[in-house]
């Protein structure tokens, strides 16, 4: 057998946001590497699509992530049937473009809940000894270049993503004794439906400007998926508490 340090055979992970975009691409790649997956999303049709494209054992769980009680119960039930987990990737998230003068508490709280706090709850659930496989633990959060650098009309989203950096570092320390690594990927702009929707809010100059911000051009979903695979695999066994910039050079400028 060929040496493959990125192999994820005999590992199990939970993937949120698995129905589309980065979550879909990541699920398909991890599955190709041998990982068994619990695919989580609220979009049943999208989950079916992703599931069909996965080559390993996967289960689909439809969850409204805003409902923490449901999240807890459904993960516990799935793990009982599926087996204990080595970790998770929290890819579910939502954008929030709003200048300061139009920002509102309700939407900001929802953005923080989904992008950030759900990640903390997932960590709480998945590191419990009744859920965690007990070895090779790895949790991966997905933030954004806008968790690292500023941009106008983005304060709510930036808050939720930069908060993940603190969460990552804090949990990395707290969970090191359990041999669970915690890392975060801060992607630049990726060609996904979410980006498409955001771009439609602006004129064509916006897209040109956006492309110029990335010396290597806009990213593909696979660029992020590859980084997730690295952070879950033994290739990164001495890496914890890191924020990995996967942004085509955006933040190098």
């Amino acid at each position: 057998m060929l040496y493959n340090p990125v192999s994820l055979i005999d590992r199990r992970y939970l993937i949120t946001g698995a129905a589309s975009g980065l979550g879909k691409a990541t699920s398909i790649l991890l599955s190709k590497l041998g990982a068994e997956l619990i695919l989580v999303d609220i979009d049943e049709e999208g989950l079916n699509d992703t599931s069909k494209m996965c080559s390993s054992n996967v289960v689909k769980v439809i969850i409204n992530l805003y409902d923490i009680s449901e999240l807890k119960t459904k993960i516990k039930d799935s793990v009982t049937k599926f087996g204990k987990l080595n970790g998770f990737v929290h890819l579910a998230g939502r954008p929030y473009i709003s200048p300061l003068k139009s920002i509102n508490e309700k939407t900001t709280t929802e953005v923080f809940m989904l992008n950030t706090y759900v990640g903390i709850e997932l960590a709480k659930i998945c590191t419990n000894r009744k859920i965690f496989a007990g070895e090779r633990g790895s949790l991966v959060f997905i933030s954004s270049v806008y968790g690292l650098v500023g941009s106008a009309a983005n304060v709510g989203y930036a808050m939720s993503k930069s908060a993940l950096h603190g969460v990552t570092k804090s949990l990395a320390i707290e969970l090191a004794s359990k041999n669970i690594r915690v890392n975060c990927i801060a992607p630049g702009f990726i060609k996904t439906n979410m980006l498409q929707k955001i771009s439609e809010s602006f004129n064509s100059e916006y897209n040109d400007t956006l492309t110029k911000l990335h010396p290597l051009g806009l990213g593909e979903a696979d660029d992020v998926a590859n980084s997730v695979a690295f952070l879950l695999s033994d290739m990164s066994k001495w890496i914890t508490g890191s924020i990995m910039n996967v942004d085509g050079g955006f933040t190098a400028q």
Binding site: N128, R129, K130, E174, S177
Partner: protein, 71 residues
């Protein structure tokens, strides 16, 4: 009482606890679990306790009495 036992089981990451179970005998017992108990006491029971209080309480029964005595 039932709610308290469920909370303890959650913190010690076991299916259930018994009143005679010794706190330090749980696999999950460590300083962070101790802090979690202190935090629970403050957040949900409105009482301030210390790690020493927990150690002196010794058992789940002792913790239950501690939580109620300080209330």
């Amino acid at each position: 009482m039932e709610n308290f036992l469920e909370q303890m089981a959650e913190l010690f990451e076991v299916d259930s606890v018994n009143l005679q179970d010794e706190v330090i005998a749980f696999d999950e017992w460590d300083s962070l679990t101790g802090l979690s108990i202190i935090s629970l006491a403050d957040d949900e029971y409105g009482i301030i306790i210390s790690v020493n209080d927990i150690l002196e309480a010794k058992t789940i029964q002792g913790l239950y009495e501690l939580f109620n005595q300080k209330k």
